[in-house]
Point group: C2
Chain length 196, copies 2
């Protein structure tokens, strides 16, 4: 077992602090001085644990990306009708957004100023395309209405889901976000499904 006592920083525990500050002030708006105050150690001590500011960003967005792509490997995202796989991905996206909230928040806000940010944006675009293909298949299989363009519908669906990072606070709700996943599915799919 690992010791519960944690009186010193590791790259991971330091990352948790940094990501929170990044989300409050924005990545560019956060200085190493801000991070040192929040972590309670000196600016130079941060460099004992990580190589620099950009490594913190890279670690954070990597964690978010891994969480999202992990969804696509789950059985529920690979087997069955496209519409059911899409609903599964939708629910699990809400799950990942809520459980990895600060990391995904950071991912969704990168602007592409550095190589790390551009890499993150590209991976994110890959994920979006994978989900868009799922939605197209569901239309082709006749389970989703085709009068709204697939790419547009995907973007609006992502807009709904990704907006969680703007308002979801785990301490104010059940932390698993099950009721939110229900609401998203209700709102999105009752509008997308062919009338029953």
């Amino acid at each position: 077992m690992t010791t519960a006592k944690r009186d010193t920083y590791t790259p991971e525990t330091l990352l948790a602090v940094a990501v929170q500050v990044f989300n409050e002030r924005g990545y560019d708006g956060t200085s190493m001085e801000h991070l040192s105050k929040a972590a309670g150690i000196s600016k130079s001590s941060i460099y004992h644990h990580v190589a620099g500011k950009e490594e913190l960003l890279r670690r954070a967005v990597s964690r978010a990306i891994d969480g999202l792509f992990g969804i696509l490997d789950e059985p529920g995202a690979r087997e069955g009708r496209a519409v059911d796989r899409l609903e599964h991905v939708t629910r699990r996206m809400v799950g990942v957004l809520t459980s990895e909230l600060p990391y995904v928040t950071l991912l969704l806000r990168v602007r592409g100023n550095t190589e790390t940010e551009r890499w993150a944006m590209e991976r994110r675009r890959d994920f979006d395309h994978r989900v868009a293909d799922l939605l197209k298949s569901a239309i082709a299989e006749g389970d989703l209405r085709g009068d709204v363009e697939a790419r547009l519908a995907t973007r609006l669906l992502f807009g709904m889901i990704n907006s969680l990072v703007e308002w979801f606070r785990p301490e104010a709700r059940g932390a698993d976000g099950a009721e939110i996943a229900d609401a998203v599915v209700q709102l999105a799919f009752r509008g997308l499904r062919v009338e029953d």
Copy 2:
């Protein structure tokens, strides 16, 4: 008539350039040097037209806020059943987002680091509450389903609409965004309305 010739900057034309750079690099990620390169004049010349970087931000978000609050004063947002007023506001929000895209984009991304940013966030919260009240009324009048919490539904609706700033490019579509407004209404309301 105003002369079409514009060989020198005004605060407004300079603002248009600045807002574009702000949106590409982020406000904090944009230096006055970046702005001067984009505008084609020297850094110090910018201060001949505006008081500083923050004034550019204030002008931009003010323009966005005025556009959004203007919607609430329109007859379509003040008369008729709540559900119809809500649909009108939804369509007009898409209209304002598309026509004032860079300014609204900037508004939706402020993080609250300065007094100007906190003021913008507060005004935005006011607007959100006004729309949330509209949605609550529509539920009370029996036109929208009540099994999804009103505040949650509002946030998801805003998530859909506001996501436009992440992907809408006026040069790639009809610049008025009418088809997008249709899609948003279809997706959101066919899921929100009581089954007919």
